[in-house]
Amino acid sequence: MSELAAPLMPLALLAAAAIGVPVVQALLVIAALGAAAVFGDNFVQLTHRAVETSASAYALTAAAPFALMGALMARTAPAAGPVGALRAAAPPMALTVVVASASGSAGVGAGTPALVAALAAPVAILALALLVVARVSGGGGVGGGRVDWPWTAIWGGTLALLLSGLAAPAETGALGALAAVGLTLWRGRAQAPAAPLIEAAQATSVLLLTLCAALFFAGVFVAGGGGGLAEAVAAPVGGPAALGLALAAALSLAVGRAAAAVICVAIFAPLVRAGGGEAAGFAALVLIAAQAGPLVAGRRPVAALAALGAMAAVVAAGALAPGLTDGAPALIAGF
């Protein structure tokens, strides 16, 4: 039975997704049932331990302040124009920080080169988006053609502090959140100050439970012999990195960007690391792939083709780059 568990897990996930069950619920239930088959009858304790580990992981504390920054930004920044591009770039940046932080690539004065590589991708997306949208929108629409300097300064300052290594990612996020609260109050948008807090608390819950469920699923899958299976399936398409990136792009259309990124990083990062790659760099590439996926659907042909090209470049880089940390900035340069 245990040797059947790993191949059955992805199939069960697909079946659960097909009936519209939330991905996190499906991941938890399938991981628990898989654990029963692989480890014995202690799956309830394993489920509890998975939640307990996520709840007590210091490395994940960056999620909450960055979620608060995002929630406050959604209240004060317009959705169109370069400000909207900045707003759209905020979640992937925040997710990269959390993933880099959780993978041990970020810390106070440590691991800065890996973090630089991990952040290069979303920062480049942000800069590119600002440039393109500022040129295209040319002053039309709400906030069109105008750069929101206070928000740009807050995000720029936060990233600069993060990369300097003077403060931990969570502390940096908290300082950014405090600045964001100040900006929100200054702009007179404090009519309902509790709403962004509740929204950010919910976003943190969603992200961390998804991360916890994905890691639990990945752990049971690999322990049940799924690692070998994934490598065998990935070999014809260029290795685990390429398969993970392609899957991130495809999954993002079905389950959303954040869930797709978290699931693919959790399942494929250990395989990429085992093959000599670097988890933070791989996470950055997964985030680009997950961002590019939704760009393809429902867009004009030119935009869809550009997004498809970007996705192909990301997948090719995942397959070809020997050290993904070095590969990420090089890929961005060619984006």
Partner: protein, 188 residues
């Protein structure tokens, strides 16, 4: 028959909703406290070159509280990402029932059992007065373990209640968000 069952269950289901709402507010307060703690910790490090003895523990406890206390309300508001599911031409009622059956008979019992296990661990930690031996501050373990148990129990109750509403086609069933939709202000 179904109407009578719903009438009997309604006070219980509303109590679960209220508990989730309250828990979500507590999570928001924990987030505000966490941000203050982190800023204080960063300031202490810049001023004195090292953080406080208790800062590390309080920060992970605060982040854990934010994570756990928001779970019930996030489930109620259907914030967890899901796939497109059954084809759009399939009856909406069938989709709701399929999801409700999964939630009531698989997800809620699993999470509820994990919550019960958590309560037993918290009780043992309380009786033994167990402390975190890794930390220099050595905080008691039972409050954080009770929080994990309470959050899992509340999430199981909320998901079970919502699943039941879906199966019984109750008018107060949670709104279905578009598949793959993510909150604009999610931040992460």
């Amino acid at each position: 028959m179904i109407h009578r069952l719903m009438r009997l269950l309604r006070p219980l289901l509303r109590a679960v909703d209220a508990a989730s709402r309250l828990s979500s507010w507590a999570g928001a307060l924990a987030l505000a406290a966490l941000v203050c703690l982190l800023v204080e910790e960063a300031a202490m490090r810049l001023a004195t070159g090292r953080g406080t003895a208790w800062g590390f523990d309080l920060v992970w406890m605060g982040a854990g509280a934010v994570f756990l206390l928001g779970l019930g309300r996030a489930a109620r508001d259907d914030r967890f990402a899901r796939a497109r599911g059954l084809p759009a031409w399939s009856p909406a009622r069938l989709r709701r029932i399929a999801r409700g059956i999964f939630e009531v008979f698989l997800f809620a019992p699993l999470v509820g059992a994990a919550g019960l296990f958590g309560w037993s661990r918290a009780l043992i930690a309380f009786q033994e007065g167990a402390v975190d031996r890794i930390s220099a501050w050595a905080p008691l373990l039972w409050p954080s373990q009770a929080l994990i148990a309470a959050a899992l129990t509340l999430m199981a109750a909320q998901v079970g209640a919502d699943g039941l509403r879906r199966i019984l086609n109750a008018p107060d069933a949670p709104p279905e968000r578009a598949p793959g939709a993510e909150s604009e202000g999610a931040g992460a």
